[in-house]
Subunit: 122 residues, 2 copies
DNA sequence: ATAAACCCTGACATTAGTGTCAGAGTCAAG
DNA sequence: CTTGACTCTGACACTAATGTCAGGGTTTAT
């Protein structure tokens, strides 16, 4: 199939499919005229890529284990666990940061509301 | 004082101070030679800017109430509460997203560890 | 008066994936 | 053979604050 069909079957934009290829995540044959040609396994592969992207992994990280997970169960791929753990650490750091900011913000909102008590015309 | 001194007194880089000015958050007089000249109140102002930035507000949002909070108590500035609330909503959305991803990731890690039980050579 | 330290503007880079456009070639159906 | 739909590459845009560099002027201390 050509790239338009693959795009429709996977939900990935044509632009994204070309980008995945550029990042080494997706291979394509070329027709005589230079059109990309995909076989059916590409559909699964793209869905897999998009799933890992949705977990917050980067294309570079995904490229480290994609070939393995396309052939085996995830648990078989040793490369994946350290990446998961690192991503967890990043997530925890980010969530912690945002949660701290949130608490700060909540406190300021409360403080403003309290200060405006009694002088609130509405 | 000139920009280098303001930078040292506030912890903001010279680049950032120029950026704040470009965004309309900071004003400066100019000497005959074109050097920026600041008075002492600039120190407080820059610290205030940096504080709001650390709360996750953008320079554009800050510009909406900075003049007011430099002159009054925060609670007096009506512009600030809706911005705080919107930022809270954004934070909650972002935290929720990351938390969901984190749960997904944690589940996958657990699943991998379970699948590798008993066949784990280490 | 000269060197070192300071300041100026303008510009490009950074992140990471995606949107979008231009200009050109290809394919399919009529 | 023509038209419309498809595809190609390459490039710029985006977010937002900051780093950094180049090329040039200024101030200060010696």
């Amino acid at each position: 199939m050509r790239i338009g069909e693959l795009s429709q079957l996977t939900g990935a934009s044509i632009r994204s499919l070309r980008y995945y290829e550029q990042q080494g995540l997706l291979k394509s044959d070329r027709s005589d005229s230079g059109y990309r040609e995909y076989n059916l396994t590409a559909v699964e592969q793209v869905k897999t890529i998009r799933f890992y992207l949705s977990l917050g992994l980067t294309t570079e990280e995904i490229s480290g284990f994609l070939t393995c997970v396309m052939k085996n169960k995830e648990a078989f791929c040793q490369e994946i666990l350290p990446i998961y753990r690192q991503k967890m650490a990043e997530l925890d750091a980010q969530i912690g940061l945002l949660t701290g900011i949130r608490a700060n913000l909540a406190e300021r909102i409360t403080s403003i509301l309290e200060e405006n008590e009694g002088s609130d015309k509405s």
